[in-house]
């Protein structure tokens, strides 16, 4: 898959994983597993990029006597997901056209 495209998809995947409730690193990896296998170092890079772009914020909270980092989606993050949904309507209609022409 094209690297730029994959990067954009992974960003939205991670945003979607924290959309409904704040989440932490290992949980994000587990939640995404049925959809995509993400390595720890890849996730770290994505989280850093999303934080830098202001799409999520990070807070540390105590859990079981140690610190754990929780990721929280910002309004811009939610907007990014909405944009993705709009963009992909277009992609899907292109895909359907390609499949239809291909069958003939």
């Amino acid at each position: 898959m094209d690297i730029q495209l994959k990067r954009g998809l992974l960003d939205v995947c991670v945003l979607a994983a924290i959309k409904n409730e704040d989440s932490y690193g290992y949980k994000i990896i587990k939640d995404l597993k049925p959809c995509i296998e993400l390595s720890e170092s890849t996730l770290y890079t994505i989280l850093k990029r999303l934080e830098g772009a202001g799409l999520l914020t990070v807070r540390s909270a105590e859990h079981d006597g140690r610190l754990r980092k929780y990721y929280h989606i910002t309004n811009s993050g939610v907007r990014r997901i909405e944009e993705f949904k709009e963009e992909w309507k277009e992609v899907i209609s292109i895909y359907q056209f390609v499949m239809k022409e291909d069958k003939q």
Binding site: Y24, G25, Y26, E40, S41, Y44, K48, R66, L67, K69
Partner: protein, 200 residues
């Protein structure tokens, strides 16, 4: 390898990075290991699931810009003494040209690769030009009434057009390869600033 060994090994593999960057990564991977253990994995399994120190090191080098690594390398670890400052000032005619030379070498390596790409595409463009001039020549001959002499340039045009299409794919493949190579060299240069993982 247990968690402590893994994190120690990671710390030494990343030494040379700014301290805050190292600590943040150590905390991130430490948390990942703890969360896996909490879920019932053994410590060894949890460490193995994270991946190798070398993978993390490579990914980290891709993420951190070269300037940051260079600044971290040249930043003095303590305040300079007066005689050291005098020495640096006096040594300026020696170290400055050396520094410039090192910088220029890095720059020229990149320039060589990019010139190669430009040269390849220049060949491709001149081939396209050749096709059109051959067609034009054939047209001139036809207008002048010598239809037979138009055949030669027309044949040449078709031949060169084939060559152009063939070379086009070659150019794309070569450009991709070269760009990949420059990225690899970039990581290689960054590696010079970060300690290699110690052999266990």
């Amino acid at each position: 390898m247990n968690k402590q060994e893994f994190l120690t090994s990671l710390r030494s593999a990343l030494s040379g990075l700014p301290k805050a960057d190292i600590e943040e990564r150590i905390a991130f991977y430490g948390e990942m290991i703890d969360d896996r253990i909490e879920e019932g994995m053994s410590e060894e399994e949890a460490v193995a699931a994270i991946g190798t120190v070398d993978e993390i090191r490579k990914q980290t080098l891709k993420d951190i810009p070269l300037q940051k690594l260079v600044i971290e390398k040249v930043k003095p670890k303590r305040a300079l003494r007066a005689w050291e400052i005098v020495l640096i000032a006096l040594g300026f005619p020696v170290w400055f040209p050396l520094l410039m030379a090192a910088g220029s070498i890095c720059l020229s390596v990149y320039l060589v690769f990019w010139t190669l790409i430009i040269a390849l595409w220049a060949i491709e463009i001149s081939l396209v030009g050749a096709v059109f001039s051959a067609i034009a020549l054939a047209a001139v001959h036809t207008v002048q009434g010598s239809g037979l002499s138009a055949l030669m340039p027309l044949g040449a045009a078709i031949f060169i057009a084939g060559l152009t299409i063939f070379a086009f794919y070659g150019c794309i493949a070569a450009s991709k390869r070269i760009i990949k190579l420059t990225k690899k060299i970039g990581v290689g240069i960054k590696s010079l600033f970060v300690a290699k993982e110690k052999k266990q």
